[in-house]
Symmetry: C2
Subunit: 431 residues, 2 copies
């Protein structure tokens, strides 16, 4: 057993993690690499930003997941180069580099926000792609509220208590709903003298929200969002952004200090390292086996990969797709090692759901059964608790949610940031 095949997996998101799990107790060596030392349960990131959950509730240390698997090793670092001819990759950890060889490579680094050419919006925008983003937005929202309470000047207060969310997909809806509830139901009670009332405005370019849902659910989502109190503007574009306002396509100027950008994502830039022709969203075209077209022994899965179903529709950037492709990639590698033919991807689609604040949601079960309102909300709740990684996370999330929902409170309302990074040991030594 001296040369066991070595499989390198880049990315410990849902795709990479499910691939690694499939390789448990298999006669291979696995090296799992991620920039962070934890896996993030991305569907609940917006709940961290809106003070309902602690960052650690939606994060799980990667090492602890594979603690008992001697043949699965974790490396924290950022992949800076892929040499597909030599079958090696280069990994960077705070300036220090090392090279790792592979027999099979799985690329699973997911997505990154896109501004569709308006990259100058980015310095003024908050994103919700990582846990760091969520903590940054949380600090900002809480600070804004403290500053709004500080001033009696209504003109000054307006931009502080107006929040603009761009993007009518699930992240945009969930974030807009949660921010509205945080401000108008929770925080507002604690500023009795200030009488703060907050506007949350959701902007969508298309004539409808959540485009992947059928018409009746799109409408139900919009109505529920509006019944909560969120202002929805369809057929609307953001054309300019500054520190204290946002300009819409119809020349409306909205005074605000907060623009949350949930308008869209593209494939992680790591895709470029393979030097293949990428799609418009920067995704890597793959065979139905999840093998990268035109590259040997390299697999790509999840949001970074591009594959069409029999009808010529691209598989969407959804967690179940990433999970199922991750498992298939691992299985196909084992098949290749055994000299067997790889299998093709068949998507087991159980549907999608979106939650809109407390007691409101829409769900499209198996893309056949539409649910709205309370029953959809309970379905959402159950699914997310069950699929959280780690028993402790599930317990903590349950506890925090029960607390918040019973008492209309928000558990995690602390402004936490390190003002002045003082320690310089590692950096100054290495650079």
């Amino acid at each position: 057993m001296n040369h066991r095949p070595k499989i390198v997996i880049i990315g410990a998101g849902f795709g990479g993690l499910f691939a690694a799990r499939k390789l448990k107790n298999q006669p291979v060596d696995v090296l799992l690499i991620d920039k962070r030392n934890f896996h993030t349960f991305t569907p609940l990131i917006y709940q961290v930003a809106t003070c309902a959950l602690d960052p650690s509730d939606v994060a799980h240390p990667v090492r602890s997941i594979f603690r008992k698997q001697q043949h699965i090793t974790f490396l924290m670092g950022e992949v800076t180069n892929i040499d597909y001819d030599a079958r090696t990759i280069e990994v960077d950890n705070e300036g220090e580099r090392r090279h790792e060889s592979y027999d099979y490579l799985i690329v699973a680094t997911g997505n990154t926000p896109t501004y569709f050419g308006n990259d100058d919006f980015r310095p003024f925008s908050f994103e919700l792609n990582t846990l760091d983003d969520a903590v940054r937005l949380r600090n900002h929202l809480l600070k804004l509220f403290e500053r709004a309470a500080w001033t009696a000047d209504l003109e000054k207060r307006k931009p502080l208590t107006t929040i603009v969310v761009v993007g009518g997909g699930s992240t945009g809806l969930e974030t807009a709903g949660a921010i509205y509830e945080l401000y108008n139901h929770v925080l507002q009670r604690e500023f009795p003298r200030a009488k703060l009332r907050t506007r949350v405005i959701l902007i969508e370019m298309l004539p409808h929200l959540i485009a992947s849902y059928p018409e009746n659910l799109r409408e139900a989502a919009r109505k529920q969002l509006e019944s909560l109190g969120v202002e929805v503007r369809l057929n609307t574009k953001v054309v300019d952004v500054a520190t204290d306002h946002v300009v819409l396509g119809d020349d409306t100027i909205i005074p605000t200090h907060t623009l949350v950008w949930a308008a869209g994502v593209q494939a992680s830039t790591l895709a470029k390292m393979l030097h293949v022709d990428l799609t418009k969203a920067g995704r890597i075209p793959i065979h139905p086996t999840t093998e990268v077209k035109g590259r040997q022994n390299i697999f790509a899965i999840g949001d970074i990969a591009y594959l069409e179903d029999q009808n010529g529709n691209a598989y969407p950037m959804l967690i179940p797709v990433a999970q199922q492709q991750g498992e298939l990639a691992a299985e196909n590698i084992l098949r290749r090692i055994r000299g067997e033919a790889p299998a093709d991807f068949e998507y087991d689609d159980r549907g999608t759901m979106v939650t809109i604040g407390r007691y409101r949601a829409v769900a499209w079960i198996y893309n056949r059964v539409p649910l709205t309102g309370l029953i959809a909300w309970f379905a959402w709740l159950g699914l997310h608790i069950v699929t959280l990684i780690g028993f402790r996370n599930r317990l903590n999330v349950l506890l925090n949610w029960a607390w918040d929902y019973l008492l209309y409170d928000r558990s995690v309302r602390i402004i936490l940031e390190r003002e002045k990074p003082r320690q310089q040991t590692l950096q100054s030594q290495d650079e």
Copy 2:
């Protein structure tokens, strides 16, 4: 009721919070000011640094504590000036300033670390005074471990896996013990190939640890710490610090990237704003009524205040002193308003305790009954859970501790830091 007396409390630590609580339902207006929007349960800060607790477990939003008290207002900001003649203070919130008048002022901003003249050590040191400090140290410790796993070079690994804690008081002991357990019991299991072994060295200038305890408990603490695995060096000074080593008084050079400074504290620098003669540690001399000597209508409590008992010994910088002085200050203000004579401080001393890792502790109950080992540890555990502010915090702490202790795990092992602060709205607008 047009002019109700207005009481301004600076600092929402244990002193300020207990003062404000005593003023619930009283015919006064209270303005409570703090730099942060939360109260910190400081005795457990080191547990956040060592991944046992979430930051929000030991923090409680101040506004939620006084939600039902219409006459108690919270203001997040930093006091930048006290005009004791005009009876006004100046408060800053991110560059914006406002003035508040007071009839009575309570100064309760606690302490800050001191380097005893060696301020050049500070850039190389980690502190444990605030929750921000704790998160900074947590990120650093976890990163060091990832980097140690990254290298096979033993000489390079040594400074990464050596931790120096300076200060043999309770913070030093508790931190050294917790770091040792984090590394050698928890993390080490997850780096099976790396075989990482960590040294934790506790440095104390005096010939004994925890100076305020009787001789037998000092010795018990040292023995328990050593039986855990921590190296204790008494009669030892740190004479030089750099990014990759610490030099001791006997010229020993310890290769390390981590110096935790728990050697001592002095009064918060706010004390200087009163322009009275301060003690050597920068504390404000007060009358036994907690009124500041030489200043009208100003009270000082807790670590920032200096008061001697009947034997001429200064009351120590301990939470119970701050709490009891806080309550007394509030009561004495009410007495002054009613035209009554203020009461003098009488310390109800229930003793002190220190925990040293799992199952080890020393306690000095009522300064009469010494406890060591498991029974002291249970006493410590019970006391800290009971005195945590907020029922949710208590539940979460219990859950996290139960999890960690049953499974020898650490709940909160995520490296979380915002690498590139991108948002600039508020700052750039105001400055």
